[in-house]
Structure formats: C-alpha cells, structure tokens
Symmetry: C2
Subunit: 188 residues, 2 copies
DNA sequence: TGGAGAAGTCAACGTGTGTTGATTTTAATA
DNA sequence: TATTAAAATCAACACACGTTGACTTCTCCA
C-alpha cells in the first residue's frame, strides 16, 4: 500500500463524521445539534470529532457552505428565466437535502455566523446572476426580491413544512413561483 | 388601597419580565435566549422568572403567540388586495418588532414547538382569509404561496437583514410584492 | 407599632454541554 | 514477529444552563 491509500481508515471516519454532522445540523440547526448526537450517528466517540475537526464551531464552519451553481442566465430564453430559476433552485435543494443550504437556513435565524454566510451567498452568487440579466440597474433590489421569494419557499416547504407547500407538485410551484421570479428578474 | 391596586408591585416585575423576554427571544430565538439573559435585562433575579412563570418553556409558550389581525378582505377593492395585504403585514411586523411573529420566526427553524405554532397561524388565520377571497377552490395552495412570499420577505428584511431589502423603501416593497400577492390570491 | 404575607435574594443542585489528556487498541513496517 | 505510530477509547474536566429551596427584606393592615 502506498501512503495515500494507507490513510483510508481515518478518511472513512472523517467522512462518517461529516455525513453525520450534515444530517444533524440540517435537522436541528447549529444550537440544537450536539457533538454527542453527531458522534452517536457516526458510531464513533465524541472525542474523535474534536480530534478531527478541532471544535464544533470549526466542523460547522466547514459544512456551512453553499454553492448555488447558477447556470449562465444570459444563455437562457429570457421569457423562461423565472421558471428556470425556480426549477434550478428546487433541484439544488432536493439533491442535497442535508447540504449547505439546509444547514444555513436552519441555523441562520438564531446564529449570526450562519446569517452572515447566507448574506454572502446573496452578494456573491445571487446578485451577480441577476445583474447579468436585465442590467445592473436596480439589480440589488431585484435580487433581494428574488431571494425573499425563493428563501421563503424553501423555508415553508422544507423547514416549516407548511402542508399545502409540502404537498404541492413540483411543476405547479415552478409555474406559479416562476411567474413571480420572472417579474422580479426582468422588472416585468 | 384596594386589593387590585395592591398587586401593582408584582405586576410591574411581571411586566418587566415579559418585556425583557420578548426582546431576548426576538433577538436570539428560543435556544439561544437564556433565563439569565432575560433576568439581567429585566434587572431582576433569575429565580423570579421561574417563580412567576414556572419555567422557561412556559414563559416562551406565553409569548409565542401571534394574531395577524387580518381585516375583512371581502370588503377590500379586489384589485388592491395584494398591496393591502403586504401593507398590513409590514405594519403588523413593525409595530411589534419584539412580538409574537418575530419570536416565532426566529425560533421556528430549530424549534418544533414554534414551527407548529407557525403552522397553526397559517391554518387558522391565513387560510380562512385567503379562502374568503376568490373562493375555496385551491385556497390552501394559494394561501401557501402567499405565506411563502410574506414569510420570506420578513425573514430577509427583519431576520437575515439582507441589505437591499432592509434599505428598500416600504412603498416599493408594497408595490412589487403586492403584485405577487395579488396574483397568488386571485389566481391572476 | 408589630405581625403576617408577599416579594425578592442568594447559594447551590443536577444536568447537559464542549473539550481535554491519559490510556489502550489497532495496524503497518522493519 | 517485534516495534512504532496512528487511531480510537475512556473518564473526567470546566462551564453554562434551568431550576430549587431556604433565607431575608419589604409592605401593608390590624
């Protein structure tokens, strides 16, 4: 075995910790998630988490990241941008239900670090994307409105689990909310 | 002094505890708010909080209530329902910045009791209001969409404090988001 | 004014938390 | 197989939390 392969054991527990931490942080948010919960789920000792990641904070920091992976909107048919954005957003969410965005949204309301991270996602990813369509004029406000609708949708459907939004079919949401986003993005 | 007035002393600390608790719960959410924080802010002993309210949970329960005070929507010009709803919602929010809705929204993402309370607000207050306009057909879904936009707006403007939404003028928001709500409520 | 009940103070308890250091076990090399 | 470093275990720490009960102070009426 060469050196790279030899580390496979510790890599595995490292991965187990990350997977468990993602699930627990996503389910309960930062404050309510405990190192011991994560350890149980990963079937390891709580001390290992500190050993591998330094502290609960550092582990959270490592997982509280999110890449929207916005496509090039200037390449999309400009009448379809709204629906395309909602569709993309829903996919991003459902693909990685335990991933960054869930963790951030669950924690941001009571955790300033997570809130700041979410604001950064807005400034670095949403803003530029919106500005690339319909020009820079009023892009910040348009991006803000877009975010309010998309985050609100995620909050209600995935976090609060408001019955009608949970039940509602993906395509209905895309059609309805798509119209809203379309108007926000293009200014009608 | 009669009996009612004699209790004025304890009523005052009772009120101080409530005010302090509203502020702390609204600022940090249930998990992060501590009995000791509330006590410091109310300038009283932590033990008094337990003495007066039984437990942190009971105090929270007492404050985690919200009355949307929706006006009779069937009396509003049906072309103005969207704007009227947003205006009403913003007023409700800004009037009592430390009150029920803030507390609920700050806590609901990581506190199942608060989430349940928010769902109850939806079922008991938003749903009936929306159903009273445009009929019962699809009322649940329409109400869900309305909630996603309004809660998303509150989340971004008051909790996450996304810069453009914080800066944006009240009337611009009412105009822009009003159109969205109008379409959701009336089904276009 | 003295006594009784309310209001407030104080120190401490038990519990759950993140974290640490010493120790034991495991696994790869010589 | 013996050796050595990595990996995992364990018990315990320090701290913050909600909560309790005994005690003191205040306040008002007889």
């Amino acid at each position: 075995m060469n050196k790279a392969e030899r580390q496979t054991k510790s890599d595995r527990t490292r991965a187990a910790i990350i997977a468990a931490a993602q699930a627990v942080f996503a389910a309960h948010g930062y404050e309510r998630a405990t190192v011991r919960d994560i350890a149980v789920r990963a079937a390891i000792d709580p001390a290992m988490i500190i050993r591998y990641f330094g502290s609960k904070d550092e582990l959270f920091t490592r997982l509280a990241v999110f890449d929207l992976k916005l496509p090039d909107l200037s390449a999309v048919d400009s009448n379809q941008i709204g629906e395309a954005l909602v569709r993309h957003f829903l996919s991003q969410w459902e693909d990685g239900a335990n991933s960054g965005l869930t963790i951030l949204l669950r924690s941001a309301a009571s955790n300033e670090y997570a809130a700041e991270k979410l604001r950064a996602v807005f400034v670095e990813q949403v803003m530029p994307g919106i500005a690339s369509v319909g020009g820079r004029a009023g892009a910040a406000e348009r991006a803000g409105l877009v975010s309010s609708q998309l985050l609100g949708l995620a909050l209600c459907r995935y976090v609060l689990k408001l019955p009608p939004l949970v039940t509602m079919h993906r395509e209905s949401i895309i059609k309805q909310v798509g119209k809203t986003i379309q108007r926000y993005v293009t200014g009608r």
